[in-house]
């Protein structure tokens, strides 16, 4: 049984201009100890998906429908106190901006200790001792001193390490990381990615990684799900997805990516463009969400939304025209 099994997740928001279908019928699963990356551009619904998993969507104006089964239990049926016992304990989350997601008036130790005291009933002393242990684990120098410091005294990279320490404090089974390295410089990003890979081996938690950076995906994901305009358009193991993307959107995304080494290969000096913009989610989209920008689109695409079809081993894509087997793999 999968650790997390999401079926037909729909997260809609009521707005003055109409219903915004931020996530519109997305299904996926995460196995124990697995790293699933959810990629897509701004507005594709990847962050709303992660917030929905934690039930952090304010209702109203939001509304979550479908089912989110975690270890067989449907999280959407739980009461708020039951949900609170899961957040930060079995499922924890790392956010993008460590400056705004840490409390500026509490010491780092107190914030890490809070989850431990709440979920594991440790007393103040024990929680602080464990916080020092966690800071050591995430590679913060002088943990005994840092544990008494406030977030503003730490650098961006160190704050993100504190966030990770806090998320891992209760040995979660599932870690949701929403753009964990986007706000960091590349040399610091490299440190944090290495730390995440290292900790994953040691702690063994499953990870749902939300990101727009395909480089980060290639680095740490095992399986990738591509979202576009609130829907899932493709899913495949990471090597397979990069080697033979089937959906025209994924192909476009990979073609539009400037790559290091372009001066070495003397590759074409022009990037592939995906013409046009992401459609507004405030109107119901009949047909394929990508039809307006797709080079292959026909009337069929504009009228009927393609379902997710198997296009290869463990490889699914939602496209009427994507080839079943790679033409020349």
């Amino acid at each position: 049984m999968a650790l997390l099994d999401v079926q037909n997740l729909q997260t809609h928001f009521r707005t003055p201009e109409g219903v915004n279908r931020a996530v519109d019928g997305v299904s996926f699963h995460v196995d124990e100890g697995e790293t699933l990356a959810i990629v897509g551009e701004s507005g594709c619904g990847k962050s709303v998906t992660s917030m929905s998993l934690m039930r952090l969507i304010p209702e109203p104006p939001g509304k979550i429908a479908g089912s989110i089964r975690f270890q067989g239990k449907d999280l959407l049926q739980l009461s708020e106190p039951e949900m609170r016992a899961i957040r930060g304990n079995d499922i924890s989350m790392i956010f993008q901006e460590p400056m705004t997601s840490l409390n500026p008036v509490l010491t780092v130790g107190r914030q890490i200790g809070e989850t431990l005291r709440m979920h594991q009933g440790l007393d103040k002393q024990a929680a602080l001792a464990r916080a020092v242990e966690m800071l050591t684990l995430v590679g913060i120098p002088e943990p005994a001193r840092r544990v008494r410091e406030y977030p503003h005294q730490l650098s961006g990279g160190m704050r993100q390490r504190v966030m990770i320490a806090m998320a891992l404090a209760c040995n979660p089974k599932l870690l949701i990381a929403d753009e964990p390295t986007t706000a960091l410089d590349v040399t610091i990003q490299a440190q944090i990615l290495q730390l995440m890979l290292d900790l994953k081996r040691r702690v063994g938690a499953a990870i749902v990684l939300i990101t727009h950076d395909l480089g980060v995906v290639a680095e740490i994901a095992e399986r990738v799900m591509v979202m576009y305009a609130g829907r899932k358009v493709e899913e495949a193991p990471v090597a397979e997805l990069f080697r033979s993307p089937r959906h025209p959107y994924t192909q476009g995304l990979l073609g539009a990516l400037p790559r290091l080494g372009s001066s070495l290969t003397g590759a074409a000096r022009r990037l592939a463009e995906i013409p046009g913009q992401v459609p507004s989610l405030k109107q119901r989209i009949e047909g394929c969400v990508f039809a307006g920008r797709c080079p292959l689109a026909t009337d069929l695409c504009r009228e009927f939304a393609p379902g997710l079809e198997e296009k290869g081993p463990r490889h699914i894509a939602a496209c009427h025209y994507a080839p079943k087997e790679a033409a020349a793999a």
């Binding site: 551009e41 440190q191 480089g215 290639a218 539009a256 790559r259 080494g261 022009r270 990037l271 463009e273």
Partner: protein, 335 residues
């Protein structure tokens, strides 16, 4: 040899830090501390580095958005760092800017038509209102926006379209140099490709020089001619595109390049993971500023600051090491 379009000589910009009682000046941030480079006509020079390295400050100093602490900025043979406000006007026409955030750099209360007409009017580039309107319409074509969008306001456009408006506004003044301060950093991949291609086309078409300030090394490699790598207010390495990306010399450049995640799963990478954080520019390390994080540090680095020296072929490196140890590049062994 023709005069370079832009020359920057030993540019310094120190910002005061105010603190304590009565906001006394207590310290200085050495944001840019002795930077020199040239930009030729029609050339793209990229300034790269991590946050706080001073790359944006260099851009702003060239635009004269503030007075510099020391050094010279020379545009086409004429010093512009000490120009009077009147003298600045003509320089402002020749050097334009595109900012990172297309949401905060366009006036939300102006229609696109007025945003584009303003620089043309300011610099007296159109003789009649008919010519003004024609120019504004032509600018929309240049940046590939529909002409019927001229009466809309910035909030009605997406991020990529707004960046096109920002570029059109910069072009309106018919500049020779455009400073692009993280101009594509806030954009999504597919839109970023559109804007990068547009900038390359415009450079070809108008012979523009670009000072491209960015932290995104893959984009830089894709579109630049030369690169200057900055660290804590100094240039540590400057070289033509291919040298920087295939055979970086400075240990920091190597680490920076190797840290970029490569979109190839299972790629054989030997990332050099630097330890620690960038030191504060308020109290930069003695000697070589990179010595606190450099994997190849030795005694001389701690006390003596390395000069930016030429190693031939247009390459400049500030490092005491004669030959920097070979480390495989970001894509594993050189193919």
């Amino acid at each position: 040899m023709s005069v370079p379009l832009l020359q920057v000589n030993d540019l310094k910009k120190h910002f005061p830090v105010r603190g304590g009682l009565f906001s006394r000046k207590s310290n200085w941030v050495y944001a840019v501390d002795g930077v020199s480079f040239e930009v030729q006509r029609g050339e793209t020079l990229s300034l790269v580095g991590e946050s706080g390295c001073g790359k944006s400050t260099v851009g702003r100093a060239i635009l004269r958005l503030f007075d510099i602490t020391a050094g010279q900025v020379v545009l086409d043979g004429q010093r512009i760092d000490d120009l009077s406000p009147g003298g600045l006007r003509s320089m402002r026409r020749r050097v334009q800017v595109v900012f990172q955030d297309p949401f905060s750099s366009l006036n939300p209360r102006m229609r696109v038509r007025d945003i584009l007409a303003e620089p043309i009017r300011n610099f007296g580039l159109a003789k009649s209102s008919a010519e003004l309107q024609a120019r504004v319409a032509a600018l929309m074509d240049t940046v590939r926006l529909p002409r019927d969008a001229l009466n809309r306001r910035p909030h009605e456009f997406s991020g990529g379209q707004r960046q096109r408006i920002g570029i059109a506004r910069a072009l309106a003044a018919e500049p020779e140099l455009i400073v692009c301060d993280e101009a594509v950093s806030a954009l999504d991949v597919s839109v970023k490709a559109q804007i990068v291609n547009l900038l390359q086309d415009l450079q070809q078409e108008f012979g523009l020089a670009l000072l491209f300030i960015s932290h995104d090394l893959a984009v830089v490699e894709h579109m630049t001619h030369r690169v200057a790598v900055m660290y804590l207010g100094k240039i540590v390495e400057m070289a033509p595109r291919q040298q920087i990306f295939t055979a970086p010399k400075h240990p920091y450049t190597k680490a920076l390049l190797s840290a970029v995640p490569v979109p190839e799963p299972g790629a054989d990478r030997n990332a050099i993971i630097l330890k620690g954080d960038v030191p504060s520019p308020i109290n930069p390390p003695s000697g070589c500023r990179f010595h606190t994080r450099c994997p190849f540090v030795f005694d001389r680095c701690r006390t003596e600051e390395p000069e930016l020296r030429s190693t031939g072929g247009g390459e400049w490196v500030a490092c005491h090491l004669k030959a920097v140890p070979e480390v495989p590049g970001p894509l594993g062994d050189p193919r």
